[in-house]
């Protein structure tokens, strides 16, 4: 029993650290990246790797099946909605005419309105 708990703890530690790192790195990306479209990708890290890994870590530590079920539901919900939100924002910007920086030199091509 103790070993099982220990394994569980180690696994959650790992997941939390990975997930936490993902969340922070994603946030750093959101701040650092040069334009809106590149920031979208950084936000993607938080939404997928960060959030889901932490949720997984929490699932491992869950005291009851009910909590597991709810965490799975949240994970599923994020999994379904986060790409949609990302796409929605990106699409809105795209349609309005915000053009991405492209290429290694990060030039905007369609800079006219």
């Amino acid at each position: 029993m103790i070993t099982l708990d220990l394994i569980r703890d180690i696994a959650s530690w790992l997941l939390f650290i990975l997930g936490g790192a993902g969340v922070v790195v994603g946030a750093i990306g959101i701040v650092r990246f040069p334009d809106f479209y590149t920031r979208l990708h950084a936000a993607g890290i938080t939404d997928t790797a960060g959030a889901e890994l932490i949720l997984l870590g929490m699932i491992l530590q869950a005291p009851s099946w009910l909590v597991v079920a709810k965490l799975v539901f949240i994970g599923f919900f994020l999994f379904m909605t986060s790409p949609v939100s990302t796409h929605a924002i990106a699409h809105a910007a795209w349609v309005v005419g915000l053009r991405p920086m492209l290429g290694a030199d990060l030039k905007r091509e369609g800079d006219e309105p």
């Binding site: 950084a42 997928t48 790797a49 790409p83 796409h87 699409h91 795209w94 990060l106």
Partner: protein, 161 residues
């Protein structure tokens, strides 16, 4: 009718998962009533169609998801490295992808999968193709994306056949 039953069963399962009270008949009764009400409203709202309840996709979707998780993990790593690199080497690129999928639900799944994978975001859907924004040249790997598309298409076939 099949969709109605599938939705009802799924909702009933969801209720039990959320509620966690299996021994209170009152709550179970409310659960049943709620499921019926939800199915009725869903029917009325016109979401009980091939898009809203994609029964066609369901059977193989879990295997696909597992594959997707791995892909997401890999992509995450690449993007994260750029985010914390002292000098990020970004070379964003737009590419047009022709989706191999046939159904709308499949197309949506494909587009979502692209967005979910960090480094690529579906920016626009047009009839016939979609516009994808990729963070670096390496991530704008069209064959890999098409591979994903084929997997989704395979899901559709598996379900419908």
């Amino acid at each position: 009718m099949v969709r109605t039953i599938v939705l009802a069963v799924a909702l009933a399962g969801l209720w039990l998962l959320l509620s966690g009270y299996f021994d209170k008949p009152l709550l179970l009764g409310f659960g049943a009533a709620s499921v019926i009400l939800c199915v009725f409203l869903a029917h009325r709202a016109g979401v009980l169609d091939f898009e809203g309840v994609p029964t066609g996709l369901m059977p193989g979707v879990f295997i696909y998801w597992w594959w997707l998780f791995v892909e997401i993990g890999k992509a995450n790593f690449i993007v994260a490295r750029q985010a914390i690199a002292i000098e990020p080497k970004l070379s964003p690129k737009l590419l047009q992808v022709v989706s191999p999928t046939k159904t709308n639900a499949g197309l949506a799944t494909f587009a979502n999968s692209i967005t979910l994978t960090p480094g690529t975001v579906t920016v626009d859907l047009e009839p016939g193709y979609m516009v994808v924004h990729a963070l670096t040249e390496a991530l704008a790997d069209e064959p890999a994306i098409m591979d994903m598309g084929r997997r989704v298409a395979a899901l559709e076939n598996g379900g419908d056949a």
